[in-house]
Point group: C2
């Protein structure tokens, strides 16, 4: 009788074995699911980037008014006071500007509307002076051409869409949505729309599975119900394989008298797993037909759900399971890495990066200008400063409304210190090679980073600080800054060529440091290695910094310096060659500096740090840096233990 | 000059004031956003139910084989053993069945294929007996007609779609998606597709806002860019109001020379708020035009994002922010409320309800049959029992993979105890009246509930336990079970009419308890109040339970009893009138019982419990119970403090 024809499982294997057996087979046979496609940025919500997105334009596109008011030349405001007001002529001395308006030469500063006293239709007076670049957002303040906006393998959020469009990218490369065919089988199965007779079972599973696929970011396609007939099922399976990336049959995956699926899949391709030691969900089939996964899910709803969740979802979500969003706002308390001053009048929301260092949340405030789109893209949360508070001190605990999933923060390497474009590339390589590791960099300059390391607020502190007396980099300053108990090591990084960036063709004919007092400069912030280098060079050459126009105009990254030099308002700046190259500027070398990573010795044992060292020492990064230019390599990844 | 025309804010108000001022205005003027519509169940993923969904059919639709094997009459297997095997004839003594096949009279049990020894094509032998209903899933075991499947205000998940279809609902009533028109304004604004000239600003905001709306479950519609022109903006705003539920303008909400929006909105309707004391985001406009919200968002990206998040999102998500899903699997440790036995051979996933009692997670395992769709709908998480484990003891800590958001569990009232349909209705009223409170009921019978209360695993224990000696309900058993330190109170609930359910028209002419030995019965599980009542009645009437056919066939809810009585295989059962009514059965009253809620006295102070008491005492519940029938009310909501 029929009883004998049941295909009893010879043996079942564990969930873990089944997963690794199947996925290894896929890998060894180089079976790729889906692929890449270009997607209109405006339609890319929820899609996963397959390549990193780089800015194609600056934001702002020009020097722009940061306030409503008037634009002036700062020099004509010098000496203005209550006792000695200065009267200005409309059209000659000033123009009326609204927030966002371009500030063009010769104007170089904006006075807020509230600080201006009207005399008549064409005259105003001012009772205070403004420094150069006051209330002006410099070109590229937020986004600089060539900068990485979004890494690869990143799920696109609404905020990302704004930033990507602002960076001039109308299309981006994303993973295709995985197409999944779903075939309900069974003679007793009827569609929910039919009226059930005794013995009928309503097919609700295939609709559930389609919704699960859609929910995972795939595209589920449900085929009609197929009776328990070997040939009919086989034809439908073949059709679905042609039309989809993955095929699911449900049910018939078991060992009953009418369970044909496993025989059909053995005829058409290869069955890798039949039967898994899980409950419910045991009768799972994991097969490959014509280079595509075909999975037989068991018939009971929960069995089908679980087997989907364990075996199918990762195949779809491998490309899409990078959800950075959380549905409910998530509140945590975090130690603030840096003092924030706030007004009593407002409830203030400050964007912040969040990391976990020694099990404690640390929040580093980001750029506070509301115009900055990138600070939103980079933010992990919003630090809330209540109304009637004057702000928070470094080290104080603060309320953070997380914008990302709490679980992510366990996988973050916090890096606070000097800026270099290579950090973005390292983050990108880490993200796709070690799915779980996120490198979160905050740029506060070398000295700021070492101070954060001292206070226990960062794991890595990228640094390139010159000891003016010895000409040596990094080692001495660490010895000075840390005491014995701290036990700091240095991971050797890259040699960077620093120099003077000037416009293409060097129209002003700048030759070196001694020419610098003649032209318009843009500086880096205090504590930045490049600033230390500049001051060292000025001192060495006996140049008074007061003679340099723009010494007080500070920006915080090499790329921002390059963007300024590219604009009409600045003639030169100091920075690394890679930034000059990427903005197509000329470059006059002034020295080679060592960009290394300070770290507590105990953290060298951390698996995430081991991965970081692997990435910085690897060929993949080196190839990308060679393309950028301006780097050289001698001891990359070498560890100098316990310096202090 | 133009400077004078700036509309400086007279004053700004706090975020909280602005929200309550605007929302109060909406409420007082009865402004409703969106509405309800019928949606095909298969297309309802992510939609929010506007009414609770009730089952239109049973699942399974008939008594069904739970295993592959043979179906037999249990009585002919009596006495079978290794020494004394019984030979059975195909077609006469048994039929071959696969899982899910209907089991029809006279057959009433299934023997697993593995336990059957084949003799020849038509004969087998068995070496053990099977009790009635062994390996048979009774009709309505999972879903019973009339039962609430999904509450109102619930976000539909893939699992829900399966269960709703299995319950015979092809369409469900959901909230319409909120339509939001987005109008980018500004003469300096250009579309990302245009080539920017100096002074141009790329409009990335309107695309970000559209994506934010879509992400919130609404439908964002982006209109073309409008120049800073009073009439043009006014026309576009009027058009968007006609076509959408909510309109957003961006930017022009501030006080600059070209910020017309607030004037236009004052002309067209009413500006409720202009200017909020938040940073960034200050220049927000909250207005109502023609009964529809119009919101002016500030121009800077972060300001626009924050103002959207605080003021617009709740308007859209009020109907949709009930996200039960979490993107990453979330692992917690929880105390198990009940012993679970598992096999060494499998990794087992047991569905569980999860609640927080006294700050500790408690997991109550649900029905373990893989066929049960409803246990998936009800589950909060999957309790994982590793391979090579024999199971877990009550009180042991276990790993749970959460299926819902962790944050939800702070808002749950855990209820473990006796089942009544009114608990579903109370949960539904709580969910829509007190947005945050979730009533999570597990049905283990009255005694099981009190034991859970004693072990600190539930907050409420619904109970209707008769003291056989006094005829009094609930009080005495609590006195016996708890010691002084426990301090238990009783919230009086409802009087329920209990009785015998028989088929419509009472074809067998059952008159009362004394007729019960003649017919086929279905029982409730041990510890259920109805079971105690039955045993009390049998004893009182001197009836031997061994004489009742089906005394050992147990189901766990009143509705499941009703569904069995509705089928061909059962003649009667004991339960409440409301269940009999809802399945259109006849009902012979045998007594009135008191269904109350035991609780620790200290928990009476909990805000959630106060809301619970308000709901059970309220008119809304009473109206719904009157419709069901079978309830009476005397002291509902009265509290008897510190019984023990």
């Amino acid at each position: 009788m029929n009883m004998g024809e049941r295909n009893l499982y010879l043996h079942t294997i564990s969930v873990e074995e089944a997963l690794s057996k199947y996925y290894n087979y896929l890998q060894q046979n180089k079976i790729q699911i889906g692929g890449a496609e270009f997607v209109k940025t405006e339609d890319a919500l929820g899609r996963i980037t397959c390549e990193a997105v780089y800015a194609k334009s600056n934001s702002p596109l020009f020097n722009a008014a940061a306030m409503d008011g008037i634009c002036v030349e700062s020099k004509i405001t010098k000496g203005a006071s209550e006792e000695n007001p200065i009267v200005l002529n409309l059209g000659k001395d000033f123009l009326i500007v609204d927030t966002g308006d371009a500030i063009k030469s010769p104007y170089d500063a904006v006075i807020m509307a509230e600080d201006v006293i009207e005399i008549d239709d064409t005259h105003i007076k001012i009772v205070g002076s403004v420094p150069e670049w006051e209330n002006v957002r410099p070109v590229g303040e937020d986004i600089v051409t060539g900068e990485m906006i979004i890494p690869s393998n990143h799920k696109i959020s609404p905020i990302d869409i704004g930033a990507i469009l602002a960076s001039g990218n109308l299309n981006i490369s994303c993973y295709k949505k995985i197409k999944v065919g779903i075939i309900p089988t069974g003679t007793e199965i009827i569609d929910p729309k039919e009226k059930p007779m005794e013995g009928d079972i309503i097919d609700s599973n295939s609709y559930m599975i389609k919704s699960l696929v859609d929910n995972s970011g795939g595209v589920g396609k449900r085929y009609g119900i197929v009776k328990d007939d070997y040939e009919l099922i086989k034809q439908q399976v073949k059709k679905s394989i042609e039309e989809n990336d993955i095929t699911i049959t449900n049910a018939g995956s078991s060992a009953g008298t009418k369970d044909f699926t496993v025989h059909i899949l053995r005829e058409l391709g290869e069955v890798i797993v039949h039967g898994v030691a899980m409950k419910p969900g045991k009768p799972v089939i994991l097969a490959i037909v014509k280079g595509k996964p075909v999975i037989g899910l068991p018939g009971y709803p929960l069995s089908a759900y679980l087997a989907y969740d364990i075996f199918v979802k990762p195949l779809i979500e491998n490309k899409v399971n990078l959800d950075n969003k959380i549905s409910n706002h998530n509140i945590i308390k975090a130690k603030v890495a840096k003092r924030i001053v706030s007004s009593l009048k407002h409830k203030e929301y400050v964007r912040a990066k969040v990391g976990k260092v020694n099990g404690e949340y640390i929040a580093s405030p980001l750029n506070r200008g509301a115009a900055s789109q990138m600070s939103m893209v980079r933010a992990d949360g919003l630090l809330i400063i209540p109304k009637n508070s004057e702000g928070v001190e470094a080290g104080e605990k603060c309320i953070i409304e997380l914008l990302k999933n709490k679980n992510n923060f366990d996988n973050i390497i916090v890096s606070i210190g000097s800026h270099d474009m290579l950090m973005d590339i390292v983050a990108d390589i880490l993200a796709y090679k070690y799915k779980n590791i996120i490198l979160s960099s905050t740029h506060v300059g070398s000295m700021g980073g070492l101070m954060a390391l001292k206070r226990g607020e960062t794991i890595i502190a990228p640094t390139h600080l010159l000891d003016e007396s010895t000409g040596e980099y990094n080692i001495n300053i660490i010895k000075e800054l840390f005491n014995r108990n701290d036990s700091i090591s240095l991971i050797k990084g890259f040699n960077r060529i620093q120099g003077i960036m000037v416009k293409k063709g060097n129209p002003l004919g700048i030759k070196g440091i001694n020419d610098l007092t003649k032209y318009r400069f843009v500086n880096r912030q205090r504590g930045a290695g490049t600033r230390v280098l500049l001051d060292y060079l000025l001192k060495k050459n006996g140049i008074d910094f007061n003679l340099i126009s723009g010494y007080d105009k500070e920006v915080t990254t090499h790329m921002a310096v390059a963007a300024c030099v590219k604009s009409d308002d600045i003639d030169f700046g100091l920075g690394v060659k890679s930034a000059a190259d990427s903005m197509n500027l000329d470059f006059i070398e002034v020295g080679v500096e060592e960009y290394d990573f300070a770290i507590r010795t105990k953290d060298l044992e951390d698996e995430k740090i081991k991965a970081f060292i692997e990435v910085i020492s690897g060929n993949e990064l080196r190839k990308k840096l060679d393309n950028l230019g301006g780097y050289s390599y001698s001891n990359v990844g070498k560890i100098i233990k316990d310096i202090n």
